[in-house]
Amino acid sequence: MRAEYSHAKIPPAPLLDIQLSPPGESASMNPSPALIDTGSDFTLAPLSYLLRMDAPEARSAFLRGLWSEQRAVTVYLVDLHLENRILPDVEVVGVEDESNETEEESEIILGRNVLNRLILLLDGPSEYAEILERRPIR
């Protein structure tokens, strides 16, 4: 699976089109862009997106930004659908997106709880990201 960097962000950023579904169910919603963010401990998804698919709640946790206070959040269980494979049993934090102020707020953030399950190639000079099936031969 290969995706061009998005130029909607400055500098350009790696995004993948993904779908989420409740565990064990097929993906019924349109693919959404998800930002590859190795600086994020955890994966975030707009709450409205999770509620429309009726994703089940699993537990509570705390979320903290660089310049923001700690907040209690709910962690949901989903399957994450990539172009040619499914990552089952993924936890995502639901974040409020009532205002829809910016495109950024309706975006899924792929944090390290997901990224650490993938072999990723980020080719900055060529501006594409690719999920590899196996490690490259050195």
Binding site: L47, P56, L66, A72
Partner: protein, 126 residues
């Protein structure tokens, strides 16, 4: 199961007015509002279960190290080394009721850090 009828005329009028402003039809607007209300209810229930889990004696939580635990109304109702297996069993038994599924062991409630200051706003579930 039968549908639900909204009987307050003023409320119905308000729904249509706001839905039109938001570019939605009345049914979709009400469905979204109900989904959000149900989510708030379930989030509070999950928060309450989470507090009960972390209030358990360390020795009790430690008994479940290496497993995932399901808690409902303050009681540990199931556990399994695999979270997905536990989830499907819990779903079969409790349906769509909010059941805590948490990693066993004596670790504290996790704090996740993200880089985007806007997204950290979250939805305070307490």
């Amino acid at each position: 199961m039968s549908g639900i009828l909204l009987k307050e005329p003023a409320l119905v009028e308000a729904v249509y007015q706001v839905a039109a402003k938001e570019g939605l039809n009345g049914d979709d607007f009400v469905a979204e509002a109900v989904r959000h209300r149900l989510a708030v209810y379930r989030q509070k229930r999950i928060w309450a279960e989470t507090e009960k889990w972390y209030a358990l004696p360390v020795a009790t939580r430690q008994q479940y190290a290496g497993k995932f635990v399901a808690m409902y109304e303050g009681e540990i109702v199931d556990s399994d080394p695999t979270r997905a297996t536990l989830y499907f069993r819990v779903r079969e038994r409790f349906g769509r009721q909010p059941v805590l599924i948490v990693e066993g062991g004596n670790q504290p409630m996790p704090v996740y850090r993200i880089r985007s200051p806007r997204r950290a706003r979250g939805n305070d579930a307490r």
